[in-house]
Structure formats: structure tokens, C-alpha cells
């Protein structure tokens, strides 16, 4: 369907620069050598350009909410939006004739505790008409509520309940936001990175009171934390440029 889109490149279109700089979209183009090893995924530049053009199209129509667009090395289009734009962007992607992403495949959250907005909410959509997929990402922290996408996609209902239960992200205007996977009186949000693997309570049947009781967890073996860092550099392609030592005014550079 990219054939039906008119490629309209604005001057000063800052978002396309982000596509090039984006760490996840580094595509090592091997223009001269043809790849013969069968275990290496063959690059598909045609799909890549089609997806990036479509990403630019979306960013051009919705500049109010779209912060970044990238195409991963596996040819997956990702659109990063501001949390205020959840309903507009999802409605646009669902209703617009050129996109028609009327199928919500998945809705999840990712917890990155070091960030200011630690939770990254990910919507995966599928267009049956154009056989294409797209990923929409937003962010929020522990206390800020997000708009529920249930008015747009009914499928989001249980997914948002799961995110509420597991991460603690509140969805405003959700028809029925309650716990879905944890036990009835369970306290805590298990999928957060600061929630321990074994949890805080364990349950057992107590014969005296004739019911199941929850008690603080007792591990038979003390939890062993392994240091899994390897002495070799893990991601040579994503090295950060080291800042050069800065001179204060008045200092002379060392000869």
C-alpha cells in the first residue's frame, strides 16, 4: 500500500533524522558483498524503505503526538508517542483508509526502573487489509494514569487489567479495572523489576484455622546473586562516545 502514498518530504523534518540515529535501527548495509551464510537473516531493503516511508507518513499526519519513528533491523515499524496521544493515534491507525490497523494483537508494559517514566506501554497492531504490523509505544511512571484504549479496541480490556495487576499502571475510563492474575488479597505488582522473584509472602494450609494463610516467605537456601558481567564488551555496535576531559578557563592544556 506504500505505492499509493505520496512521498512528501518536508524541509527540516526532524523526525527522519531520529530514524537514522536510532540505535535499534542500525542497518549494516552490505552493498558490495552478497551474503552467502545461511544462518544470517537476509536484509530486505524494499520492505525497510516501504515501512520507513509509511512511518514518515504517520509522523507527518500526527506531529502533535509522535515523538519518534523507527524501523528495527527485523523490519518492524515502531511509533513512539506522547501518552496524551494514545486514543488519537490508535483511532487514526484503526479508521484511516491507508492504515486500517483494526486488529490489536498485544498490549504489554516494559519496566525500566532507571528511567524517569519507568513503564513503557507497547501496543502491537495488525492490518488485515494490508497485511502489515505496527508497534505503538508510550510511557508513564507509577502514578500517572493513562487513557484506556478499550473504546478503540475491545481486545485491550483484559490486557489493560493485566498491566494494572502486574505493573500498577492505572488506566482511566477502563470499564472494569481489577486484578486478573494475582490472588485475591495479593499486595504488590509482580512484574516490576524491584519485586523479588520469590515474592514476599507464601501460602500454606493451616489446620488450626482450617484455611489457607499467607505468611512471609521462608527460603530454604539464601538467595544467591550471581554477577553475570562478562569481561568482554557486550555490544560493540552501541558504544557511547567518551566525553573528552573538559578544561576550566584559565587552565593550560598539558603539553
Amino acid at each position: 500500500m506504500a505505492a499509493s502514498l505520496v512521498r512528501f518530504v518536508r524541509s527540516g523534518f526532524g523526525r527522519s533524522l531520529n530514524v537514522a540515529k536510532q540505535s535499534a535501527a542500525i542497518v549494516q548495509t552490505r552493498t558490495t558483498t552478497t551474503e552467502t551464510r545461511p544462518t544470517v537473516r537476509p536484509k530486505d531493503p524494499v520492505t525497510h524503505t516501504q515501512l520507513s516511508e509509511f512511518g514518515e507518513y504517520i509522523a507527518e499526519i500526527l506531529p502533535k503526538y509522535v515523538q519518534q519513528v523507527q524501523v528495527t533491523c527485523f523490519n518492524e515499524l515502531e511509533v513512539m508517542i506522547h501518552p496524551e496521544g494514545i486514543i488519537p493515534v490508535l483511532t487514526f491507525l484503526k479508521d484511516h483508509t491507508n492504515s486500517q490497523f483494526n486488529n490489536m494483537i498485544d498490549l504489554t508494559a516494559v519496566d525500566v526502573p532507571t528511567r524517569q517514566y519507568r513503564f513503557e506501554i507497547v501496543y502491537n497492531l495488525l492490518s488485515l487489509r494490508y497485511n502489515s504490523r505496527i508497534r505503538v509505544k508510550t510511557y508513564t511512571d507509577e502514578l500517572t494514569p493513562l487513557d484506556s484504549s478499550v473504546p478503540v479496541h475491545q481486545a485491550a480490556d483484559w490486557y489493560e487489567r493485566e498491566i494494572w495487576d502486574m505493573f500498577g499502571v492505572f488506566f482511566a475510563n477502563h470499564p472494569d479495572l481489577r486484578r486478573i492474575l494475582t490472588d485475591y488479597g495479593f499486595e504488590g505488582h509482580p512484574f516490576r523489576k524491584d519485586f523479588p522473584l520469590s515474592g514476599y509472602v507464601e501460602v500454606r494450609y493451616d489446620d488450626e484455622v482450617k484455611r489457607v494463610v499467607a505468611e512471609p516467605v521462608e527460603l530454604t537456601q539464601e538467595f544467591r546473586k550471581f554477577d553475570l558481567n562478562s569481561p568482554w564488551e557486550a555490544f560493540p555496535a552501541y558504544r557511547e562516545p567518551k566525553d573528552a576531559p573538559k578544561l576550566e578557563s584559565g587552565d593550560k592544556p598539558a603539553k
Binding site: I61, K64, Y65, P88
Partner: protein
């Protein structure tokens, strides 16, 4: 061959439309009217006007339903009608949301950085 209305769309819940040209004509005029309320340079207005006028011209020129479906090339005419209805609802919501305005707020510096 013109004048033979198909028995069924083949899709559950989607009834065959008896006057698709009329219905599309109404919907496309409404969409174009709704797009007029947006600023001229809004990208959504530009692209949607282009797309809708293209389809509208197909509808005006082609009177046979089957040939029209092939010309538009987006599934059955009933599906095209539902796409137009969705686009109409969307254009009305777009006039409220005004997505052509500049970015609401930039993300914090390392928000989208991966690997962390």
C-alpha cells in the same frame, strides 16, 4: 451483466448494499466537507483529500459494481463503504484533536534509548 446484484458478500454480518454508488457519494461528500474545516496545510487533510477524491472519481465514472471494486482495489464495495464510514468518523474526531499542531511535549532524554 450490469444490474445483477450479488447474492452475498461472503462475510458474516455484512449485508449486500443495494445502492453502493449513492451511499459512497453521500459518504465521500460528507468526508470532504468535514476536511474543509481543517487548515489547508494539515497533512491529514492533504492526503485524505487526495485519496477520497481519487475514489470519488472512480465511483462517479464507473457504474458497474464489480468493475468499480476492481478499480478501487480495496476489497468488496461493502467493505469500501465501511472504510468510508470509518474515515468520516475519524475526520470528525480529527477536527477536535487537531493533530497537525506541533509536538505536545518532548520525551525525556533517555526515554527511547535502547539498550539502556
Amino acid at each position: 451483466m450490469a444490474g445483477v446484484i450479488k447474492k452475498t458478500t461472503g462475510l458474516v454480518g455484512l449485508a449486500v448494499s443495494h445502492n453502493p454508488h449513492e451511499r459512497l457519494r453521500i459518504l465521500y461528500t460528507k468526508i470532504l466537507g468535514s476536511l474543509q474545516t481543517m487548515p489547508q496545510d494539515a497533512a491529514y487533510r492533504k492526503y485524505t483529500e487526495q485519496l477520497i477524491t481519487q475514489r470519488f472519481n472512480h465511483v462517479k465514472s464507473e457504474h458497474d459494481v464489480e468493475k468499480l471494486e476492481k478499480k478501487i482495489n480495496c476489497g468488496q464495495i461493502e467493505e469500501v463503504i465501511s472504510q468510508a464510514e470509518a474515515e468520516l468518523a475519524l475526520s470528525r474526531k480529527m477536527t477536535e484533536w487537531k493533530p497537525w499542531e506541533p509536538l505536545v511535549e518532548e520525551a525525556p532524554a533517555n526515554q527511547w534509548k535502547w539498550p539502556i
